[in-house]
C-alpha cells in the first residue's frame, strides 16, 4: 500500500529543510518511527532476555510452587511467604555472611594485586608483554577446568598444596573439608581467577595517564610512591570505580566455582546466596522453585543496591 510513496524520488536535504510546515511534521514523525525501528531489535532483545526472565523469577518467588503446580501452571499466589521461609531458614544468616565475606575479600585482593601488576607492567620492560599475556591465562581457562584444578590442588589427601606445605613441616590442612578453611579456599581460587580482569582494565586505564605528568612530578622531586599516590591513583579513580563495581557484580553471583569445589560444604560452611539458591531449586530430588527464586531475587536486589550506590557516588564526584 505504501509502495508508491516509498518509490518516489528523494528530495535533497536543502529542499527538505525548506519544505512546508506539514511536510516538516511528517518528516519528524518519519524520523521518530525510523529511530523506533532501529531501537526495536534492542527492545525485543531486552524484553526477551532480561525483562521476561526477571518477571518469571519474580513470579516464581511470589507463588507457592510445588512440582505439581509447576507442571500444571496453577500455583496460587502466596505473597511474601517464600521470602519469609528463606529469611527464617537457619541457612540464611551464614549464607549471607559468606556471600559478603567472599565478595569483599575477593574484590579487595583482586583489586590490590591487579593494580600492583598493572603498575608493574606499565614500565615496559623486556618480555613484559609475554608475561602480561601469561597473567591472562586464568581468564581464558574454562571455569570448570580451573575450579577442578584448584579442587585437586587443595585435596586434603593427595593435593599438591599440602604436599608442598609438608616440606616446611606444616601438618596437612583440610582445605576443602574443614569448616574453617573451605570458604578461605574458594576465596583464594576466586582471587586468582579475578586478577586478570582487574589487571587488564587498570592497565588500560594507566595508558591514558599522560607521561608528562610523571615527568613534571619527577622534576618536582616526587618519588615513586608519591607519584603513585598523587598522580596514578587519583587519575585512575573513574576506572577503579567501574572495575570495583563490575567485580562486585561478578563476584556476588559466583556460583560455578564454589559448586565445583565444595558444593557449599562441608555442611554449609561455604554456601553463598548463589549456591543456596541453586541448591533449593535444583540440588535435591524435589525442587523448591519458590524459595530458590526468592534467594535469587534477594541477590539481584543486593547487586542493584550497590549499582545505585555507585551511580550516586559517581554523580557526586562529577558535581
Amino acid at each position: 500500500m505504501t509502495v508508491a510513496r516509498v518509490d518516489r524520488p528523494r528530495r535533497a536535504p536543502a529542499a527538505a529543510a525548506r519544505a512546508s510546515g506539514s511536510g516538516a511534521r511528517s518528516l519528524r514523525r518519519r524520523r521518530r518511527l525510523t529511530a523506533l525501528a532501529f531501537l526495536t531489535p534492542l527492545l525485543a532483545y531486552l524484553a526477551a532476555f532480561y525483562v521476561y526472565p526477571l518477571y518469571r523469577n519474580l513470579d516464581l518467588s511470589l507463588r507457592d510452587y510445588t512440582v505439581r503446580s509447576f507442571v500444571a501452571g496453577d500455583a496460587p499466589f502466596s505473597g511474601w511467604d517464600n521470602f519469609r521461609t528463606v529469611l527464617d531458614d537457619p541457612t540464611f544468616g551464614p549464607a549471607m555472611r559468606h556471600t559478603m565475606v567472599f565478595t569483599f575479600v575477593s574484590i579487595a585482593f583482586q583489586y590490590v594485586i591487579g593494580l600492583a601488576l598493572a603498575v608493574f607492567f606499565n614500565r615496559h620492560f623486556r618480555l613484559s608483554t609475554v608475561l602480561r599475556a601469561l597473567f591472562l591465562i586464568p581468564w581464558l581457562l574454562p571455569l570448570i577446568v580451573s575450579a577442578s584444578t584448584w579442587s585437586w590442588m587443595f585435596n586434603s589427601e593427595s593435593g599438591v598444596v599440602n604436599y608442598f606445605l609438608h616440606f616446611f613441616g606444616v601438618a596437612p590442612v583440610g582445605w576443602l573439608t574443614a569448616p574453617d578453611w573451605a570458604l578461605v579456599s574458594v576465596i583464594i581460587a576466586n582471587i586468582w581467577i579475578g586478577i586478570p580482569f582487574n589487571l587488564v582494565i587498570l592497565y588500560s586505564g594507566l595508558q591514558n595517564i599522560p607521561g608528562e605528568l610523571y615527568e613534571a612530578a619527577a622534576l618536582d622531586g616526587a618519588g615513586a610512591w608519591q607519584q603513585f599516590r598523587r598522580i596514578t591513583f587519583p587519575l585512575l579513580r573513574p576506572v577503579s570505580a567501574i572495575t570495583l563495581l563490575l567485580g562486585l557484580v561478578y563476584t556476588l553471583k559466583v556460583f560455578d566455582l564454589i559448586w565445583i569445589m565444595t558444593k557449599g560444604g562441608p555442611g554449609d560452611a561455604s554456601s553463598t546466596l548463589a549456591t543456596w539458591s541453586y541448591q533449593l531449586g535444583f540440588g535435591t530430588l524435589l525442587p523448591r522453585f519458590g524459595p530458590g527464586a526468592a534467594v535469587g531475587n534477594i541477590l539481584i536486589l543486593i547487586a542493584l543496591v550497590f549499582g545505585l550506590l555507585h551511580i550516586r557516588v559517581q554523580r557526586r564526584q562529577e558535581a
Partner: protein
C-alpha cells in the same frame, strides 16, 4: 542515508524474521512428533552412545514396536528437572528412564502413567525393587535393573595386615580390621560423604544398619551410625576427603590399591577387574551383625502422560521390549545391574558367580522412597547429607548435627 519507509520496512522485517522463524520451527517440530512414527526416549546413560550395546538395544526395541526412537541422554542429576520442564511445556518424552528416587517426585507432579493403566505386567518383579516406584499401592514404572552398595576389599592389603575378611561381621569387627590395616601402614576405608544425594545413598546402609528410621533422624540409632563414620575419619581410618568424594572419586581412591575397603556399587565390577589387585566383596555389616539393609539404586522405565493417548500403545510395546526377560539379562549385563526378577537373577549368577553377593544384597535392599516416604524422602535426604558433612568436618557433634537435620526435615 535519509530515513525512508523502505529502511523502516527493512528494519521491521529484519527484526520480525527471527521471531516468525522461531515460531514456525517449534510448531513444525510439534506436529511432526505426533504425526510421524517417531517416538522420543530419554535415559540417564550419556556414557553409552548409539553404537553401544544399550544404544542398539533401544533402537531395536523401537523398530520392534514399529517406531523410530529418538534417544536423548541426560546426566542423571539433570534428568528429573528436564522432565518437569518438558512436562510443563507439554512435550514430555514418550518413554523415559529415570533414577528410582525421582519417580515419586514425577508422580507428585502428575506426569507419569500407572503401569496398571497401561496394562504392563509387573507381577514378576521383586517387591523391594519396585517399591521405590510404588505410590499408594500403584506402581508407576518398571525397574530395568537394580544396583546397590557393598564393601569391596583389597585382598593384598588385608592379608598384609593379617585381617581375615570373613571376620568382618559387625561394626566392632570392621573397626578392629581398619585399626589393624592402619597399624600396618595402609589406609582403611573410603566412601562418599559428599553433600549431594550420593552422600545420603552411601550413608543409608549404616543408618539403616543401626536400625535408624528416616522419620527420626536424631534417634540414638542414627547418632550411632554417624558416630561410626566420624570415629573413622577422626582416627584416620577413613580419609578427610570423603567429604568431597563422589562414588567415582571414592572408587579411584580404592583403585590406587592403598585402601583395604571401599564402599561402592555393582556398577564398579567392570573396573574392579581392571584395578590390578585381587579383590573381594562383602555385604555391608549391620551394627550388631548380619547384612545391613542397603538402598536400591537403578532406573525405572516410565511412560509420561501424553495429550495424545493413542501413543501409549507403541510406548507400551517399547517398555515391554526393554523389560522382557531375555532383554533384561542382556541389558543388566551391559549396565552391571542386578535384574529385578528372580528368574533372570538366577541366570545372571549362573553366568557370573561374582554377582552372588550382589544378588543377596539387592534382596535385602530397600527403596529410599519406599514405605510411604515418597516425596518426603528428598526433604529428609538433604538435611541428612548436610548433617553428615557437619559432623565429619568437625563443625558439629553427630547428636547436634542430626538434631538440626531433624528439625529442618520436619519443616519440609
Amino acid at each position: 542515508m535519509k530515513p525512508t519507509r523502505r529502511t523502516l520496512m527493512a528494519v521491521a522485517t529484519a527484526t520480525l524474521l527471527p521471531l516468525t522463524a522461531c515460531g514456525g520451527g517449534s510448531g513444525s517440530s510439534g506436529s511432526s512428533s505426533s504425526a510421524g512414527g517417531t517416538y522420543t526416549f530419554w535415559d540417564p546413560y550419556p556414557q553409552f552412545d548409539a553404537s553401544s550395546d544399550w544404544g542398539r538395544r533401544v533402537t531395536a526395541c523401537g523398530s520392534a514396536a514399529g517406531a523410530k526412537l529418538k534417544r536423548t541422554s541426560y546426566d542423571t542429576t539433570d534428568l528429573g528437572n528436564k522432565a518437569l520442564l518438558a512436562a510443563q511445556q507439554g512435550n514430555a518424552p514418550d518413554v523415559m528412564l529415570v533414577d528410582n528416587p525421582v519417580v515419586s517426585t514425577l508422580v507428585e507432579a502428575g506426569i507419569l502413567n500407572k503401569t496398571g493403566d497401561l496394562g504392563l505386567d509387573t507381577s514378576s518383579i521383586q517387591q523391594n525393587i519396585i517399591g521405590a516406584g510404588t505410590i499408594d499401592g500403584a506402581s508407576y514404572g518398571v525397574p530395568i535393573g537394580a544396583n546397590t552398595l557393598a564393601l569391596y576389599y583389597n585382598k593384598k592389603v588385608l592379608s598384609a595386615a593379617g585381617v581375615d575378611p570373613a571376620s568382618v561381621k559387625d561394626w566392632v569387627s570392621l573397626t578392629a580390621a581398619l585399626k589393624k590395616v592402619k597399624a600396618a601402614g595402609k589406609k582403611g576405608i573410603t566412601f562418599s560423604a559428599i553433600n549431594t544425594e550420593e552422600g545420603s545413598f552411601q550413608f543409608l546402609p549404616w543408618f539403616w544398619g543401626a536400625g535408624g528410621d528416616l522419620t527420626k533422624l536424631d534417634s540414638a540409632k542414627g547418632v550411632a551410625a554417624l558416630s561410626l563414620w566420624k570415629q573413622w575419619v577422626d582416627a584416620g581410618y577413613a580419609p578427610k576427603d570423603v567429604l568431597q568424594n563422589t562414588q567415582t572419586t571414592s572408587w579411584q581412591e580404592f583403585a590406587t590399591g592403598d585402601y583395604a575397603f571401599g564402599e561402592n556399587g555393582t556398577w564398579q565390577l567392570g573396573n574392579a577387574d581392571k584395578a590390578g589387585f585381587p579383590y573381594g566383596v562383602v555385604n555391608i555389616p549391620g551394627q550388631n551383625g548380619g547384612s545391613a539393609p542397603v538402598p536400591t539404586g537403578g532406573e525405572f522405565v516410565t511412560v509420561p502422560v501424553q495429550k495424545d493417548s493413542s501413543r501409549y500403545d507403541v510406548s507400551k510395546k517399547i517398555v515391554g521390549c526393554l523389560t522382557s526377560s531375555t532383554n533384561l539379562l542382556a541389558t543388566d549385563t551391559t549396565l552391571m545391574y542386578v535384574a529385578p526378577t528372580a528368574a533372570v537373577q538366577t541366570e545372571q549368577v549362573a553366568k557370573n558367580a561374582e554377582l552372588k553377593p550382589w544378588v543377596a544384597a539387592v534382596a535385602a535392599a530397600r527403596g529410599r522412597t519406599s514405605g510411604g516416604l515418597g516425596t518426603k524422602y528428598p526433604t529428609i535426604s538433604q538435611p541428612l547429607w548436610t548433617a553428615v558433612q557437619a559432623a565429619l568436618s568437625g563443625g558439629k557433634s553427630p547428636q547436634d548435627a542430626l538434631a538440626a537435620a531433624q528439625s529442618s526435615a520436619q519443616k519440609g
